[in-house]
């Protein structure tokens, strides 16, 4: 019954209620859509980095990360690979030979990382083959084929089919070089990666640097990203002599993007709710002051102060929640729509790529965000109504009845 009275009271002054409801609707809609865009942006950035470059887990020799020397090979790499594949939750593993070197064209030269990969296995772990803008990812068993980033090609002034010379150091420390023909050009979200990474057939590279069957890196794809940590622990348990790192450890700055976005958006939504609190307080205060006489009568005929207090809180709650639910529904709809079409940020693309950010964002909002916003609005509705409600029950019935 209380609920019904409260709802009728909300409807008594429709203009006033409509204004505050519109404020809540707009505020939550805007806040949620902006959050969805930000979230989508950071998720897309992280997932594209994982899919195209990082993979979920990488296994190296413990000394590899600091030195990145050709001699820091992973001991028992084949056994380690077999072990990783047996760990439940692992989807695929690819083995790489990684050496640092220099790529030179007739015009200029620049520093690069050379990944010796097995093309077939590589495609099961990373999606670099889907990011090709020209040519193919298949080396066709040819030793002198190379896939490079389009940015590197631009820098070197070469095209698909051009020859470039790679210079590096072999296992004995001797400078060695070989000429390669570009068979594919890729373009990922990271300009740095595209300027500094080349892929060649592992067998050929192993022969060039005298690495034999040695490997530097195992990249692991897990089936379910949520089980990342437990899979990593599983792999670690069987490989005491190796360094097993998840993408969060390899690229802490990416993990930081997600964490930062979350905190930033929570503060942002908090500010919006705080701004709405002012509106709610003002609306409820007006509503109470309009009805001083009514409260006087109610209390004169014996209605308890506590019930009046609860009634006003209920009114505030109903008013705010009605606005909140509509605003959240609109926000959800907009985010879902934008998610299906994607937001193209290519106007800023170069800048975004330089920082390794994704170019197309698919807005998304995790469910807990809606729950948090709804809870925050409920708290704001109750807090905002406290002062007006307290005001209503402090009235002296005899004087209140005489008002107006």
């Amino acid at each position: 019954m209380m609920l019904q009275i409260a709802w009728r009271n909300v409807l008594r002054n429709r203009k006033r209620s409509a204004i505050i409801m519109a404020a809540i609707m707009f505020g939550l809609w805007g806040g949620l859509v902006a959050s969805g865009v930000s979230f989508g942006f950071s998720y897309d950035t992280v997932s594209s980095a994982i899919e195209t470059r990082l993979s979920h887990i990488q296994i190296h020799a413990p000394t590899y990360r600091d030195n990145r020397s050709i001699r820091d090979t992973l001991r028992g790499a084949r056994k380690a690979e077999a072990h990783a594949l047996r760990v439940p939750g692992v989807a695929a593993v690819t083995a790489r030979l990684v050496v640092e070197g220099m790529a030179a064209s007739a015009e200029t030269s620049t520093g690069i990382s050379i990944l010796g990969v097995d093309a077939a296995a590589e495609t099961t772990v990373t999606t670099l083959h889907e990011e090709l803008v020209e040519g193919s990812f298949d080396f066709g068993g040819r030793r002198n084929r190379i896939v490079v980033g389009r940015d590197l090609a631009t820098r070197l002034g070469v095209r698909l089919g051009s020859k470039i010379v790679l210079t590096t150091q072999d296992m004995q420390g001797t400078i060695v070089g070989a000429s390669y023909r570009i068979s594919g050009l890729f373009r990922t979200d990271s300009k740095t990666f595209d300027e500094t990474t080349v892929l060649v057939d592992r067998g050929g590279l192993a022969r060039l640097v005298g690495a034999g069957e040695s490997l530097h890196e195992l990249a692991v794809l897990v089936e379910d990203p949520r089980s990342l940590d437990s899979v990593a622990t599983g792999i670690r348990a069987g490989l005491p002599g190796a360094s097993v790192e998840t993408w969060k450890e390899i690229a802490p700055e990416l993990n930081w993007i997600n964490a930062y976005t979350e905190v930033y958006l929570e503060i942002f939504l908090g500010i919006i709710v705080l701004a709405l609190l002012f509106g709610i307080t003002n609306t409820m205060l007006m509503s109470v002051l309009d009805r001083i006489r009514e409260f006087g009568v109610l209390s004169a005929i014996g209605m308890r102060g506590r019930r009046v207090f609860v009634m006003i809180l209920l009114e505030s709650l109903l008013l705010s929640l009605a606005g909140a639910v509509l605003g959240m529904a609109a926000g959800w709809g907009t985010v879902a729509y934008l998610q299906s079409v994607g937001i193209d940020l290519s106007a800023f693309a170069d800048g975004m790529r330089q920082w390794g950010y994704s170019e197309v964002s698919h807005p998304v909002l995790p469910g807990w965000m809606y729950v948090e916003v709804l809870l925050a609005m409920m708290v704001a509705a109750l807090l905002g109504a406290m002062y007006p409600a307290w005001k209503a029950i402090r009235l002296d019935p005899a004087r209140a009845i005489q008002t107006y």
């Binding site: 806040g31 990145r68 690069i112 631009t154 420390g173």
Partner: protein
């Protein structure tokens, strides 16, 4: 004056409502001032750092160098050319560099490295390179020794006093090879830089690459960033079209765009906030109007002009909003001044990220007057939009029915 007086009294007829409305504007203004000042301050700081640590405000290259980065695209660093540039107003310093990629090797390993031939004194004045030397000593002009990044030295197993071998491509494909004793280790928080940077004195690098007297770039420093456009045009006119003269914005569009995206995000956030506050003000003005329908009816009936009432209602709405702006500014301004002179020093992960980029982890605030002006404008727009309600009501108001209300 009468309007102001009447409006002042009218808004205080309901004190609490007015106070809450003012408080909401105040809240928005304080918040907007703090965040905008922080954003603009950090952009400024970022630009100053990026300019100082990399390209300078502008650079002079041989035509096509920036795209190709080929060592062959070089030019003679002549006194006459320098005079032409330093003759342009606002130009303070010229920093010559000869940079190319080559292999750096020790007895135990080889790595790709960025070889920088620098004028030690000019470089030090521009970006304080000497402070980054953690072991040994900084270069002097003409030294035939090398400064090496910490991570590069560690990878190559080199220490102070050991010899660094540089092997690469010199001018027009000549083989360049040289051996340089290491006299200093440079620390960069950014791993990429720390593991690739080698500094030689300019003359040593010119000799190594067989390019006597030549450089790839001349960076130009200015007395103040606001003179950049003027100086850029001046330098272009002075050196003629044999050189490409690029502003830092052209060389690093990613910095400009990164700032634009972040800035747009900040503006959207504040816009949402102001719309919410706007609804609140609109509500208050609407209530003030509805409550006084009877009063307005009487006034019109006794011959008061509707337009004068509209002016009064507008004054009320403006007054309400401006009180919020003024009190908000009064609260935020001292805080901003304090933060402007004592920027916050960041710690934790955020500080780590800034160090990676080579910045001191500071969070500086801006005192740009446009921040204050734009908040005032935003609130004035809210006030004017809100005032449309009483103006509309007054235009349609029928005194007879209004008086019966």
């Amino acid at each position: 004056m009468l309007y102001v007086h009447l409006a002042w009294r009218n808004i205080w007829r309901n004190k609490r409502r007015t106070m809450i409305s003012i408080a909401s504007v105040l809240f928005a203004v304080v918040f907007a001032l703090l965040t905008r000042s922080m954003q603009l301050g950090s952009y400024d700081y970022m630009i100053r750092n990026v300019v100082r640590l990399s390209t300078g405000y502008m650079q002079l290259h041989a035509e096509g160098f920036w795209e190709k980065r080929s060592i062959d695209l070089a030019f003679l660093d002549q006194a006459r050319l320098r005079e032409q540039i330093t003759g342009v107003p606002h130009v303070t310093d010229l920093i010559p560099r000869l940079q190319t990629f080559a292999l750096a090797a020790s007895a135990t390993g080889t790595r790709g490295a960025m070889i920088n031939g620098i004028d030690p004194a000019a470089e030090e004045a521009m970006n304080g390179l000497a402070e980054k030397v953690i072991e040994g000593s900084y270069l002097a002009s003409g030294d035939s020794t090398a400064l090496v990044g910490e991570a590069l030295a560690a990878t190559l197993g080199l220490e102070l006093g050991d010899t660094l071998i540089v092997y690469g491509q010199g001018y027009h494909g000549l083989t360049a090879a040289g051996m340089f004793p290491i006299t200093g280790i440079v620390r960069y928080p950014n791993r990429e830089m720390s593991s690739t940077l080698v500094y030689l004195s300019l003359s040593t690098a010119q000799e190594l690459f067989a390019m006597p007297g030549m450089v790839n770039s001349l960076s130009v420093m200015l007395d103040h960033p606001r003179h950049q456009q003027e100086a850029l045009e001046g330098v272009r006119a002075a050196v003629g079209d044999r050189y490409e003269v690029m502003a830092w914005q052209e060389m690093m569009p990613e910095v400009v765009q990164g700032i634009e995206v972040d800035n747009a995000g900040g503006i959207i956030m504040i816009a949402i906030l102001y719309v919410i506050i706007g609804f609140g003000i609109f509500g208050t003005v609407m209530m003030m109007t509805l409550e006084r329908r009877r009063e307005f009816g009487v006034l019109i009936a006794v011959g008061m002009k509707r337009s004068r009432l509209a002016v009064m209602a507008t004054t009320e709405s403006l007054m309400l909003s401006l009180l919020g702006v003024l009190s908000g500014t009064a609260i935020a301004a001292p805080v901003l001044v304090a933060l402007y002179y004592n920027p916050i020093r960041l710690t934790g992960e955020a500080a780590q990220v800034m160090l990676e980029f080579g910045f001191e982890p500071l969070l500086p605030f801006s005192m740009d007057p446009t921040i204050f002006i734009s908040q005032t404008l935003a609130v004035l727009i809210i006030a004017l939009v809100s005032t449309s309600y009483p103006v509309l009501v007054l235009r349609r108001l029928d005194p007879v029915t209004a008086m019966r209300a």
